[in-house]
Symmetry: C2
Subunit: 209 residues, 2 copies
DNA sequence: ACCTGAACACCGTTCAAGT
DNA sequence: ACCTGAACACCGTTCAAGT
């Protein structure tokens, strides 16, 4: 009945922190936020309950720590795809698909950028980690938008695009979910064309329904 | 130390249900989902804790009951504004502003349409109430979109518009929040123009940045 | 039938004590 | 310093007992 307990050395705080984050992510993947129980985190990391709290002051801080790691990895996966994209539709589609993959794990209530704004009582290190991860993601997307030919004001365009990505993901949390009888792929394609035309970087004639 | 206890008659289940919903909404307004405690609901409705559970099987059912009522009222407030709207930008702006007003209360994790899809283990009556309320809201918006001149396929357009509305609201949960240094009004205006152009119902020249 | 409220279960968090 | 785990607090849910 022994779990996977990392043989981290007594006092190795860096590795311990990684163990905790890994245990937390495993639980989140197994059943979302509800499955993230501090006792199970301690178990998975091979430490006692109290010790978890010497690394993350609250469950929310731990969650955001795991989430920030996820955003970093997501950005790394996304970057090459954004660089290969030849037009806006590909950029938007890649971002939307990548973002939705993490949704069942991290839940609809959590969104990188919303969290950055909301975070009031987070541990400074945790908050900074989230900010850095988020800035990287938004930066990569902004660059891709410019490469796709957008020449207007980047800030409102990013706000609108990111809202569409997160809004869509919010309605298609699970694999096969349909929303208003529209499939995920159809909705994303429609959104990409509509927004692309609206931003003046997709030919109005493309994919007219 | 006595709260506002409605003098509902013993056995009047209809009025009792209304008392519970009203107490629940009051708590939600006072502090969001975290403030919705079943003991306080019982208190506010003037009944005992156990009785709440004979009306709503779980806290989630109660929450959705309150939320459905909110959607009904929101639709009634929105309908005349949609009917007066002279173009798509006004339609989108009215819908976005109205939707965001309920966000601080009902929380970012909850969204009418997402809930309709997700609801697996809800009480039939509660689920039906949510479905009816939601259908009314979406119907009113769809009609407004057609009146604004949209002639394409309504389903994907509604999916994209609704995702944008909820996504934007998700990033501007509180009054003064900015997101990517863009104000709510600026983001909504930009989204309305962009989506309207993309759908072919807003003049490409309008409000070019 | 409808309602009560004590009791249970679960889990986030703390802290005095260990090494 | 770092770590432990029993204890506490809070709150959703149940159910035997009341009217």
């Amino acid at each position: 009945m022994n779990r996977s307990r990392p043989a981290t050395q007594w006092g190795d705080r860096d590795q311990r922190r990684i163990d905790i984050l890994r245990a937390g992510e495993e639980l989140l993947r197994s059943g979302g936020y509800a499955a993230l129980r501090m006792r199970d985190v301690a178990d998975g990391a091979g430490i006692s309950l109290g010790t978890v709290y010497t690394y993350f002051a609250t469950k929310e801080n731990l969650f955001i720590g795991v989430f920030a790691e996820h955003v970093l990895r997501m950005t790394e996966r996304l970057r090459p795809r954004l660089e290969e994209a030849s037009d806006f539709v590909e950029v938007f589609t890649a971002a939307a698909n990548e973002y939705r993959d993490g949704y069942p794990v991290f839940g609809r209530q959590f969104d990188a950028l919303a969290l950055v704004e909301t975070a009031d009582a987070l541990q400074p290190a945790v908050e900074q980690g989230l900010r850095d991860a988020t800035a990287g993601l938004i930066g990569a997307l902004g660059e891709a938008l410019v490469r796709a030919g957008y020449e207007g004001d980047l800030r409102p365009a990013m706000a609108v695009l990111w809202s569409e990505v997160t809004g869509l993901a919010n309605h298609y949390t699970t694999e096969r979910r349909e929303f208003l009888d529209v499939s995920w792929d159809e909705a994303v394609a429609f959104a990409a064309r509509t927004l692309g035309r609206g931003l003046g970087i997709v030919d109005p004639a493309e994919g007219r329904t």
